[in-house]
């Protein structure tokens, strides 16, 4: 049983995929400004959200995360002009994989987080934690 399930999802585990140049600085700025959000949020930075494999998002849900949040580059991406569409496609592919496993699509969320989006990020985390609490335990977790 995962810790989240044991705790009755009072602190839903959230994995954030951030991007090194765009959303990670925004998440860092939330830190510099001491904007609090739940400690059950963990962040993993990758160069670009369009480089995420859908399988990794589902893997996180399998391994005990209650929700996955992709803090995407959106229009800001310095690599790919069509980054927003690419990331959206990755999300929909992951959601198809989740549907096949009876995982609610609400456990996966994407939003563009810019390099100064400190407050929006902290708000996203608080809101997503509430959504996941309402969803209850992620029973698909191994």
């Amino acid at each position: 049983m995962t810790p989240a399930a044991a705790a009755g999802v009072t602190n839903p585990r959230i994995l954030v995929f951030s991007t090194i140049n765009i959303s990670d600085p925004g998440i860092d700025l939330a830190g510099s400004r001491h904007l609090e959000y739940p400690a059950s949020v963990q962040t993993m930075a990758v160069p670009c959200s369009s480089g995420l494999k859908p399988a990794w998002l589902v893997y996180a849900l399998d391994k005990g995360f209650d929700g996955v949040f992709v803090a995407s580059d959106g229009e800001e991406c310095s690599y790919l002009p069509d980054c927003a569409e690419r990331t959206a496609k990755i999300i929909s592919q992951a959601q198809e994989m989740m549907a096949a496993r009876n995982i609610s699509p609400s456990r996966l969320k994407m939003a563009a987080v810019c390099s100064v989006c400190a407050e929006p990020f902290a708000n996203y985390m608080r809101e997503f934690a509430e959504t996941l609490k309402a969803l209850g335990a992620n029973t698909s977790a191994a």
Binding site: T2, P3, N11, R13, L15, I20, N21, D24, P25, I27, D28, L29, A30, G31, S32, R33, H34, L35, E36, Y37, P38, A39, S40, V41, Q42, T43, M44, A45, V46, P47, C48, S50, G51, L52, K53, P54, W56, Y59, A60, K63, G64, F65, E76, S78, Y79, L80, P81, C83, R86, I90, Q93, S115, V116, A118, A122
Partner: protein, 603 residues
Amino acid sequence: MSEPEATQATPEPAKHDKTAPEDRRIGVYICHCGGNISDYVDVEAVRDALADEPNVVISDDPIFACSDGTQQDMIQAIKANGLDGLVVASCSPKLHQTTFRNVSKRADMNPYAYTQVNVREQASWVHQHDKAGATEKVIGLVRSGVAKSRLSDELVPLRVNTVPRTLVIGGGIAGLRAAKGLADLGIDAILIERQPELGGWVGKLGAMFPHEDSGKEQVATLIDEVKDRRDVTVYTAAELTSKAGSFGNYEVEITLHREGGDKVLNLEVGSIIVATGFDSYNPDDGEYGYGMDGVVTLPQFKELVDATGSGPLSYNGRPVRSVAYIYCVGSRQEAGGNEYCSKYCCTAAIHASSLVSSLDPGIRQYHLYRDIRAYGRNELTYNESREAGSVYVKFDPDTPPEVAKLDSGVLGVTVTDLLTGHAELTLPVDLVVLVTGMVPRENKTLIDLLKLPLGSDGFFNEIHPKLRPVETVVDGVMIAGCCQAPRTMGESVSAGLAAVAQSAALLKKGFAELEPLVAVVDPDKCTGSGECLTACPYDSITSIEWDGRQIASVDPATCKGCGGCIPVCGADAIDLLGYTDEQMKAAIEELVVTEMPVKEPVA
């Protein structure tokens, strides 16, 4: 002395050797950062939890991981214990990833076996009321970092030739001085200025503090020096209109606005210095009487004083016998202005009043202030102005001065004097000067083109305010002068020269080391479907013949390392080095700590 040759791109898939994961020897350091981390995370508990992890040979918790002493300790520990992996859990990688990669290099360890774990900006600083939760989170993050180091490849940076030329955007004092500084160091400077004239704000000013040198004359001298140089090219009425490529080899398009139509120039530059300056705060109509005849801003007043020469001070044909200065207009306020202090304006106003005193010591001058921030040597200018007869009246920001027309027709400023029993004074004056500060300049196109990060105040953001004060998160793009923050001319020039030094540090070697964290194709898995060929906007992926069939191959010199090709591959044959499938899955797994390591809950 021989310089290393820049390597040519190889179409062959590179081979990356590594020690078997189970044999890796990893050192882990969890930084207290003074108390920045350890006040909110049980650092000792993290250290103890990591000590038992497989492959972890050392688990330590230095007070400051970045201190010289700790760096030396790490180097010795890496050598003495034969470590081939290093994990430091401290601040954001933006601050110290390079520091600890260099520690690895100095200890003869592959720098790409180093993993930085961000437990300050992304943990201790955002969970200040949940020490147990933060501690559990950090243990997961550090274990995840260990997993990445354990599975890291032996990588070598790629070398590409760099162009010894820098684009300076903005022909004010910071940009002009930077252009000259670049040329002095043997780097060609291309200076572009949006306006038809060079000089910016300083170019319009007469005598300036602290040495009474004329801004106009200083700018004119610099322009003469720059114009004489073959290695500085200046374009006025010119704007950056596109940017491609990467640091060391940016391809920029400059549009020259010329009579009869725009002209376009395409150039290659190695780095870019942004010195686009500031705008002066523009008060709202009615803000401290702004809009009334005789109420002016500090820049307008300075222009008036400079234009007066030696002769009597007058405004709109009327003699000026008395002046009231209202400080902090638009600054240090939450609503309807800016929260920050512009720090130059106190001294600039005091200095302007000294010029007025020297024109005519009989002119009465009242300074209505919240706090006087004439720092450093400027304190002496402040003292001199008081000795010359200026009167200073402190007001409470909750009851700011009011400006109105008196029955006699002159302006009246009513202020409650905080230091003399809250006496309410009404001062009849000929001129009211609103001491306005600096605001960020509207520059949306440039921000979009260069992907410049903005702070919450709207000025451009550096990577680190102390250690990397002119670099931005965009490689090879530096900021200098008042586009970064309000500052004095001397400070702007210093920043411009710091950006010059930083450009030289990047370009003087003639080559740049690029991250080897690029995409690689597994030739055994690749089916040659061609799906990835169109996925790369940089045309880094080509089809090559390998073992009698067509497979995809990535050019490491042009690959940007975004990973955009990875999810496109139906055969799962592409990996991004540093973020391989194996590393990502192991890192995800390790984040989830199954047992709470903290023995008793900490409040």
